[in-house]
Symmetry: D2
Subunit: 479 residues, 4 copies
Amino acid sequence: MTENTDFETGLKEECGVFGMYDLDGHDVSRSIYYGLEALQHRGQESCGIAVSDTSGPKGRVKSYKGLGLLSEVFHTGQFDSLSGNIGIGHVRYSTSGSLNINNAQPLVLNYLKGSLALAHNGNLVNALQLREEMENAGAIFHTSIDSEVIAHCIARERVNSGCIEDAVKKACDHIRGAFAIVLMSPRKLIGVRDPYGLRPLCIGQRDNAYVLASEDCALHSIGAHFIRDVKPGEVVTINSRGEISSEFLDDVVPREKQAHCIFEYIYFARLDSCIDGVEVYNARIRGGASLARCYPVDADIVAGVPDSGLAAAKGYSEASGIPYAIAFHKNSYVGRTFIKPSQDERESSVKIKLSVIGSVVKGKRVVLVDDSIVRGTTIANLIRTLKHCGATEVHVRISSPPFLHPCYFGVDVPSNKQLIASQMSVEQIRKKIGADSLGYMPIRELPDMVGDLPICRACFNNEYPMEVPDHEIRDELGD
Amino acid sequence: MTENTDFETGLKEECGVFGMYDLDGHDVSRSIYYGLEALQHRGQESCGIAVSDTSGPKGRVKSYKGLGLLSEVFHTGQFDSLSGNIGIGHVRYSTSGSLNINNAQPLVLNYLKGSLALAHNGNLVNALQLREEMENAGAIFHTSIDSEVIAHCIARERVNSGCIEDAVKKACDHIRGAFAIVLMSPRKLIGVRDPYGLRPLCIGQRDNAYVLASEDCALHSIGAHFIRDVKPGEVVTINSRGEISSEFLDDVVPREKQAHCIFEYIYFARLDSCIDGVEVYNARIRGGASLARCYPVDADIVAGVPDSGLAAAKGYSEASGIPYAIAFHKNSYVGRTFIKPSQDERESSVKIKLSVIGSVVKGKRVVLVDDSIVRGTTIANLIRTLKHCGATEVHVRISSPPFLHPCYFGVDVPSNKQLIASQMSVEQIRKKIGADSLGYMPIRELPDMVGDLPICRACFNNEYPMEVPDHEIRDELGD
Amino acid sequence: MTENTDFETGLKEECGVFGMYDLDGHDVSRSIYYGLEALQHRGQESCGIAVSDTSGPKGRVKSYKGLGLLSEVFHTGQFDSLSGNIGIGHVRYSTSGSLNINNAQPLVLNYLKGSLALAHNGNLVNALQLREEMENAGAIFHTSIDSEVIAHCIARERVNSGCIEDAVKKACDHIRGAFAIVLMSPRKLIGVRDPYGLRPLCIGQRDNAYVLASEDCALHSIGAHFIRDVKPGEVVTINSRGEISSEFLDDVVPREKQAHCIFEYIYFARLDSCIDGVEVYNARIRGGASLARCYPVDADIVAGVPDSGLAAAKGYSEASGIPYAIAFHKNSYVGRTFIKPSQDERESSVKIKLSVIGSVVKGKRVVLVDDSIVRGTTIANLIRTLKHCGATEVHVRISSPPFLHPCYFGVDVPSNKQLIASQMSVEQIRKKIGADSLGYMPIRELPDMVGDLPICRACFNNEYPMEVPDHEIRDELGD
Amino acid sequence: MTENTDFETGLKEECGVFGMYDLDGHDVSRSIYYGLEALQHRGQESCGIAVSDTSGPKGRVKSYKGLGLLSEVFHTGQFDSLSGNIGIGHVRYSTSGSLNINNAQPLVLNYLKGSLALAHNGNLVNALQLREEMENAGAIFHTSIDSEVIAHCIARERVNSGCIEDAVKKACDHIRGAFAIVLMSPRKLIGVRDPYGLRPLCIGQRDNAYVLASEDCALHSIGAHFIRDVKPGEVVTINSRGEISSEFLDDVVPREKQAHCIFEYIYFARLDSCIDGVEVYNARIRGGASLARCYPVDADIVAGVPDSGLAAAKGYSEASGIPYAIAFHKNSYVGRTFIKPSQDERESSVKIKLSVIGSVVKGKRVVLVDDSIVRGTTIANLIRTLKHCGATEVHVRISSPPFLHPCYFGVDVPSNKQLIASQMSVEQIRKKIGADSLGYMPIRELPDMVGDLPICRACFNNEYPMEVPDHEIRDELGD
């Protein structure tokens, strides 16, 4: 599968979060911008930054949010009004059809003790229940995102808590699901991760500034070094003296019951990231090698679908000894706002984003590696183009198992009707896309990708790490 | 005083509200747009519309808000996504320096019984106290406007109320200050007015649709006819059967203690509006006549400063027998986003918005009528230009008394330091602006403008109709 | 007729021009902006400014143009890149349906002697013929405006001319029609006016800077004083020593054959302007007086349609003794980009721009004065609204004769099919618009408006001051 | 060198051209858009499309141009007004500092025989001389681009030519330099290529439509197939009967004197293009192999700088046997409008666009392949980062010789002062960038890249294929 674009209905990650606290008092908004830019692959539909000055009056939070990419929303001038040495940021992919600026994050709130800003990656499974409880007690909600439910929980707990981190811990004891959260109170930066470790979060440092980020690639992009991952179920607090304190949620689960999202490694996370001790590049190389072991084939070249299939193709090549090839050119100028082709041009328009380098594939038997098949349209077009350019055989290898079950933890899997894998057998899919052979990653091979890291496989095998609702929860809070 | 512009620091009204419920199911968003356009003089800094479909699922509210004039924020395409037969709208002038889209109205909320949209004109005097109480109980606030405090009150009361209008009534029993509110629940349109009648609100009808609006000019602009004013302290509810029910707040005050804002008549309200039985045009004509009686002068022509001084000038002319003249041309193309003049062009740039028609004033003794003097800069420039064009004398008549005290009820009076009247005597002002004589409306003459309508004169005489804080309340909720 | 708006098909002026040369070296772009803002009524569809620095390298012209009002096109930042002490500007109304930025002025050109910028108000009758001649000699044209034909003529003549003003004179000897032109060469500012004086142009001064402008209101708006009108057929040149030289075109006509456009006085020009010695305000007052003489009526009040009918109404009132009334409120916030009403709201939407002040007209016999009737829709709506508000009679007086013939000199008269006057008798029009009586200005009364100034009456009586084509010339150069 | 971005001063191509004529009458604007999108790498600063309908009135050309990428300039709605079955398009990189919409192409002109649209890639060496000749004869110029000189030449020749293609041929006999031109007359589509073949142009076909394009990748992107390259010195005309006629310029040179630009193969052209019979991918593979032969080294992996160094790295890997590695992640979301880092963040910000995959390079000796070194800053940063990530050695191989002389044919080589190669020896450069070894492609190896194709090497060895000016010609026509 190629990267997320408007004309591709694929899997989508929901968010990236970033926080920074500069204890020397330097402004952090530009660094947050760069950090978010390194996380842009996790969400392209809205973004925002909220900052505060810890030496100023409590609760003066300045924020700016907008719909679109960071480069579309932010301009140099805006940073003048975003001064402050503590701040958080967010990039978002919205699961609901209609975009709504109201739902953009960070959420910035006033409550008992002043101001609070919150950015959340993940999805709760008990948000509706909690919201109804609070509405019954007279609460009002401005958005349709579960992150606001978390904010309400924190505000309620704050009434009887001695400090903000206690309130956050108590609030997070109530919520269930996947969450990686960064929070900014007037004088503290806080990070929380759900007990199962479903969503990533790590800690870094640059000089006398501390950073929280969804992936360590965002640390490196601003010149910070990685300290450690936030542990599943951990609440990490950085205070104004630069002390990092840590406590754990009540429901922390033993390591073997943790459930790290395998899709972070298959394609959400950036190729140069390392999450929970597993390097994404290496995981994909090992995935490609597994495919080579499980589905060997006599072929001339191995080619990956840019960009997410390239590393797995390299792994397949290394394991099989079949040469790795650069078979595609990706046009990086094709806009996100796609000009719709007229009816009779639709057929030809599929070649716009990816084009085949004819001299590479002509007369060759090609192993084509991608990370997933959603509807099958894109891969079918690539196979047809490869053959049109002279490839004699095309053997497709997919570095994930077929996904057959809904994800309740923040991955936007299309509904069953759109998923080719839930409608057809592997052989039927092979025929439909025009491949000479087709192999999906076996579920049993997944652990090999990530070493001993316990992973969530629910979307492949229906075994969820916690109790989940019996219905679709997307949009249940409104849209 | 000329109309509100970026380069003029004058008195400013805070808001206009509009609501409509079409019982035949027709879309109302376009009519709300036109209605708000007729109220645009009450607020030019942000605007918004929220609509719902009473035949659809409860709580599906569609809204659109933005910074700027209606014509800048709304475009034809947006109305396609604003379908629904019940809706409310708002135009706003923000009292805080920095504009913030978060503070735009209508507020759209989810709470116990689904959705609620709220638009508010006025200012509360106990908002901070109420907000602190609620924060202490665990509430969170997304905005810095007192309107959100009202929404929270309603949500709390709704828990133990049988219907929305009861909750609204109970909530409004807690708030104190000036308020004219329109609310939309899934099936009802509600209007509330504070017990003193400080801010206007009226009811109209077009075919089988009911309308609530700050001024009746907004009714006429959409072809609706005026039914009646909402009474001070009244809660009016229009339900899905077209029934209009009414109840009153606990603290309703007797008519003689009501305190209608006199500035609505002097210049906030539109010339063609009629509020609480008093026609604005007639009030200004009578004001001009009072000035003629109190400050007669031997002159050749009477000229009003466009647009707000024209009617009072007409009244002065009719009462004195001195001919009414068209002495100014107003350039309607001068942009709101004013191109700043370079230093040496500043002097000449004052003539851009208003220019004098030389042949009208040459050799003439002029009575110049305006509604107020804030800093005195504008009127001084006009007098200088009139004399430059050949006027032999300029006698200034102001149709309001000097304002000397802060308004807590929604009028944005500049601080004392900017107010010329609180720094100088009338004779000093006359000299400074270069007038040959100067007369302010005496406070005792104000009742004559509005008949027996009880009015608030606090900004002139420091006698407030209710207890007010002992400090500046603008921005006390943040900005 | 109300002012030009998108939803009104009325008479339209084609352009306003402005030029400035500061001999002390100060930047002129901001002053040009203000000057154009005072001329914005002459054209709202595109605008532009071109400047140069006479102390810099020859031919470095900086320019900025755009579609829309000055306040929409220009922002403060742009003036930083528009430095220079000589410059010209233009506001334009395009006669063709489709707007095209290519046709915006000033035209900025390179030719034999460096750079040239040109801004033109008016219309040529021999542009097509000249363009074909030049095309036959190998010329190319980038625009569809006749102004580019003038530029080509100048460039051709420049080859054998000793100085730019000679080339301009020779070029203007070839062109026929209506023209008021300002030109900027590297070191000179030049103004030209056609021999008939059809379009206005005047000279002013501020300190050591000279100014050319379509109307003197633009001089006053920047603090310059009026020196004199450019004479019909005159070429005025201001050089770098501040000398104003003058020569005349070969075809200069005697004063009695001049043909000043009467519509400048009836409604194009601004109320505070004075053109060729005749004050616009006074001309309209005299027009209103003529109507009172020609069409007396027994009535209670006289009301003008804002803004262009107000002065004539005043004239009618003064001559008849019937009191002048403020009967309408004009909503200055109604946007140019009009939100289209749905079908069933169309009827009511006509009240949005102008509303009647009920208490003024109730029970009154009204004389309603406007400057023209094009299709009759607007006046019919006003009459209906006046009667709805209680006016017992409405007597319409129009301060221009019915126009029946095309204008070839820059006035965009709608085609005959749209003109009510060419389709119906006066009595038929009266009935259709619902007036109790109707009187148009008699052609014989026009001279009285402007003293002894010889005027063009061709659109009323088909007597053109020069030979004109036998076909429609609008868009003949493309669109 | 990475791709063109705002913060990188590298080599820049000047333009891409595209033309299409659908003989069945289908609209071509969307196909032109897609074709230009495939050529966007040739110019990102402005773009435009001009279309006409061959069955409509002659000379009705509709066009749309703007500054920025196609995806920024064009929106779906614009295609509604760009109907027509013949058209041309252009993407441009402007060599002058200030962008100017006037200079955007296609140029659309009116001349003797109606309309003409022209799009040009390349640079003339006698444009100034021709323009002065024409100005002396009275011509005027609206732009500062040499393409307008070509248009003038065509218009002049058209006067005495029987058909447009004759005029084009005669005009192109006058101009000297590099040019690939597509022209649209009312009924014909014409392509011209300079006698030396400096700039590419090819012909394609889709059903009953003919296409001209700078590279064949643009043909494939719209589903057209390649027919042949336009020959150096050839004028190709496609008429309304679908006939392709051909004639040659007078100055056509023998094949051995042709001078195809080698930089098209090194990095301008797209990886999947084939120009004049040489596949770009293969040329780069052979270039990499040459580097391996000339500069062998004992290393562990070969890595190319994305995207332009990847294929040469593959060639080096294949020839040397050293494994090819994926060592970098390119962040495709980094905006073109780069948020400037504050002073103390500048150092770290270089990692934003390209990041190193640590696990790939750790402990490895790396051969790093790029296509050129301009200032050396970027490669120095990459080397530093590679070593920071654990690379033990970095051996740099550059697939082009050092460029030392100006290009007069359309490549925007930075001035000598910015070129590191003209300031330092290879050893000095090696030290400065921190490489362990450095090898530039020897000039003598270049022919091996492109077979027997005669190439221009002037920027390396100062041997120009034609007489060139003795001064810098960029901006000589103004800016």
